[in-house]
């Protein structure tokens, strides 16, 4: 089942004197349960592509369809609701709301979605447990390590059961051990919850764990390979 369909998408930036084709004719789709990574040198368009898929940005050409929504047809405020309902985001850093505890951060989107309190608490507990932070419910982000913060971010992204999770270089700021732990957790969630993960990275550790590697260069896909690594 296709979760994301990208048809001949372009994204051109004009705001400098030169025109930059950050995404230059990409056609691509993701299946439910994908554990895919987008790799490529810095400036190859990974972030731009993820932003387009997540509805943070609109393409200058082509079409993106996510869970039956044509993103180009959504108004800005509808795009925000679309993201809340269908997309989980994990950023490279500064993912969490500093004044909220770990469990409040995890429950934040559930709260936006107006889940009833009991259900919200159950789901939050479940998610914190699945990222191995059952004992850190009441910790503020500043009391957590970088790796723990990323795990909370993953738990938050996953809690409302989005269509897929977008993670732009999620391990870039992590040491090897924390990065491995995070990948273990994501792999497990991918397996247990059939959650689709789409990363970008130029971290070789992440690449090795992916089951699909899409390589970008100058905004074009130069290879898209499925690997069987277990």
């Amino acid at each position: 089942m296709k979760v994301v369909e990208i048809n001949d998408v372009y994204k051109t930036y004009h705001d400098t004197e030169v025109e930059v084709k950050a995404v230059n004719g990409v056609t691509l789709s993701f299946e439910k349960g994908d554990f895919a990574v987008i790799v490529g040198p810095s400036g190859s368009g990974k972030t731009t592509l993820l932003n387009l898929i997540g509805g943070l940005d609109q393409p200058t050409g082509g079409e993106i369809i996510v869970a039956g929504h044509r993103l180009s047809e959504l108004k800005p405020s509808e795009l925000i609701d679309f993201r809340m309902e269908h997309v989980g985001f994990v950023f490279q850093s500064y993912n969490l709301i500093p004044v909220l505890t770990a469990s409040e951060n995890v429950g934040f989107i559930l709260n936006l979605q107006k889940w009833p309190k009991e259900k919200r608490k159950a789901r939050t507990d479940e998610m914190l447990a699945s990222v191995g932070l059952s004992d850190r419910h009441n910790s503020r982000p500043s009391q957590l390590s970088g790796g723990q913060q990323q795990r909370v971010a993953v738990a938050r992204a996953l809690a409302p059961r989005p269509e897929f999770i977008l993670a732009d270089e999620p391990t870039a700021n992590l040491d090897t051990k924390s990065a491995e732990t995070l990948l273990d957790i994501m792999e497990k969630l991918n397996h247990d919850e059939k959650m689709t993960f789409i990363f970008s990275t130029h971290d070789i550790r992440v690449m090795k764990r992916a089951r699909r590697v899409i390589t970008l260069e100058d905004g074009r896909i130069v290879s898209d390979v499925r690997v069987n690594n277990n």
Binding site: T47, L56, I80, R83, M84, N95, E104, L112
Partner: protein, 471 residues
């Protein structure tokens, strides 16, 4: 997690900044309120002094008198009308008054004066000129005698500063000469002994006597018992001239009044000006003195007076004084405006800094699905809470001071008092109780807040999410 809970927690994430912002708002509101209270209190005292010693709240006048205050615009007092005015529920007394100009001479000095003729018994029902009688005077002789006594050092030193100064009551003596609370009972008898001023007041039966302003007395070098010559023009151009013994000296509130004040009995004044049975006005004392009350009373009395006569309020009669105060008030308002401008810039700077620092956070929140409107609501709440904290503290902090300053007006001592005295004003700064000026300060701060909030909200709505998360 409710929006206000998030706002509340955000408020305390940078405790120092929140407190500094709230403190600056507090400072502005507190300072502005105290300053306003002093300023408005001072005006109020000035108005009250003039009203209670000179114009009264309302006057019955010939319609033309307000434009040309001359004897020729006087009128014959009709006892019938007077008694009907006295019958009004808000009226406590009616005091016919004949006022005109004259040249006063005593010894070799002359001065243009205003002669006021009233019946002393009537006058005391509505005005309080008698409270202004000079009771103590620090003549050089008195100062010498006092110095020979054992006075507290500070008071002894201040005696030289206040040589020839006159005092109407012991309270001002105590405050102006810095007599300590514990010394009062020892020192006051010494002043009573050496500096008491023999003074008298008019009675209805008096004829040929005058009470004059302290400023006039000083200028003419004329004291109690001296003779005062008055010369001028009487009703319809007759010659007015008379000789009076100075019976009392009063300190009138305004220097312009004090330097020209000559008070005769109504009969003497009528005789001097050849205007039997006439008056230039009748002061109407009232019970309720608020503007609304005065207007209502005036409207009622207007039905009684008939053609040719009019009821004037103290505001109409003191237009000049009101204008002066209005001008002074403007300068005060400008000062406060500058103060608020400084505070506004401070608040704005803080908001700018806060918005810049939290850009990534805002970007992240909108990325994961928080509507911009909801985010704007949270941020507005934060800012409103800080402002409210500051305003509430400012109002709360000012209240005890304003109430205290009202109950026990600030009185100046020594040099500061001297400055006031030299200008002919009482060295007192009373405060005005909370009034609409409180409301205004709150409105101004809310306006500043509103501008800052509008700015932030706009910035949130214009935020480019991708740039914000990348920053």
């Amino acid at each position: 997690m409710k929006d206000y809970q998030l706002a509340w927690r955000n408020l305390w994430r940078n405790r120092r900044r929140t407190l500094i912002t709230a403190a600056s708002v507090f400072f502005a509101v507190f300072f502005a309120l105290v300053m306003r209270s002093f300023q408005l209190g001072t005006y109020e005292k000035m108005y009250r002094d003039v009203i209670e010693s000179y114009t009264g709240y309302l006057q019955l006048q010939h319609t033309d008198y307000i434009d040309e205050s001359s004897l020729d615009n006087g009128f014959v007092i009709d006892p019938e009308i007077i008694s009907r005015i006295e019958g009004d529920p808000n009226v406590t007394a009616v005091i016919p008054k004949l006022e005109s100009f004259a040249l006063a001479a005593s010894g070799s000095r002359t001065q243009g004066v205003m002669v006021i003729g009233m019946d002393p018994e009537d006058e005391m029902k509505g005005l309080n000129i008698i409270n202004r009688l000079v009771r103590y005077r620090l003549t050089p002789k008195a100062v010498e005698a006092l110095k020979a006594e054992s006075l507290p050092g500070r008071t002894a030193k201040l005696l030289d500063v206040f040589v020839n100064e006159s005092f109407t009551d012991e309270a001002s003596l105590i405050s102006i000469l810095g007599i300590g609370r514990t010394d009062t009972s020892d020192v006051l008898p010494l002043f009573r002994k050496h500096a008491a001023f023999e003074n008298g007041y008019l009675t209805s039966a008096d004829s040929g006597y005058a009470v004059i302003g302290n400023g006039l007395s000083e200028y003419l070098h004329a004291g109690v018992g001296d003779t005062l010559v008055l010369m001028g023009q009487g009703y319809h151009g007759t010659t007015a001239a008379g000789l009076y013994i100075i019976k009392g000296i009063v300190r009138m509130p305004q220097p312009e009044i004090d330097n020209r004040f000559v008070y005769l009995t109504l009969d003497d004044a009528r005789y001097l000006y050849a205007a039997p049975g006439m008056a230039t006005s009748a002061i109407i004392s009232v019970r309720d003195t608020e503007d609304d009350d005065l207007v209502m009373t005036r409207n009622r009395l207007g039905q009684i007076t008939g053609d040719g006569l009019a009821i004037r309020t103290w505001k109409e009669m003191n237009a000049l004084l009101l204008n002066q105060m209005e001008a002074d008030n403007k300068s005060g308002a400008i000062m406060i405006g500058i103060l608020y401008l400084v505070i506004a810039f401070g608040v704005f700077g803080t908001v700018l800094m806060m918005m810049a620092e939290r850009r990534r956070e805002f970007g992240m929140l909108v990325s994961i699905g928080m509507q911009k409107g909801k985010l704007a609501k949270v941020i507005s709440m934060e800012m409103f809470l800080v402002g409210f904290l500051g305003v509430a503290a400012g109002v709360a902090g000012s209240l005890p001071i304003v109430f205290l300053g009202y109950a026990r007006p600030l009185r100046f001592t020594g040099e500061m008092a001297k400055m006031y005295e030299d200008y002919g004003f009482d060295p007192v700064m009373p405060m005005l109780l909370p009034d609409t000026y409180y409301l205004w300060q709150v409105v101004i701060v809310l306006l500043i807040l509103l501008i800052a909030i509008t700015f932030s909200v706009r910035k949130i709505f214009k935020m480019n999410v991708i740039n914000a998360v990348r920053a």
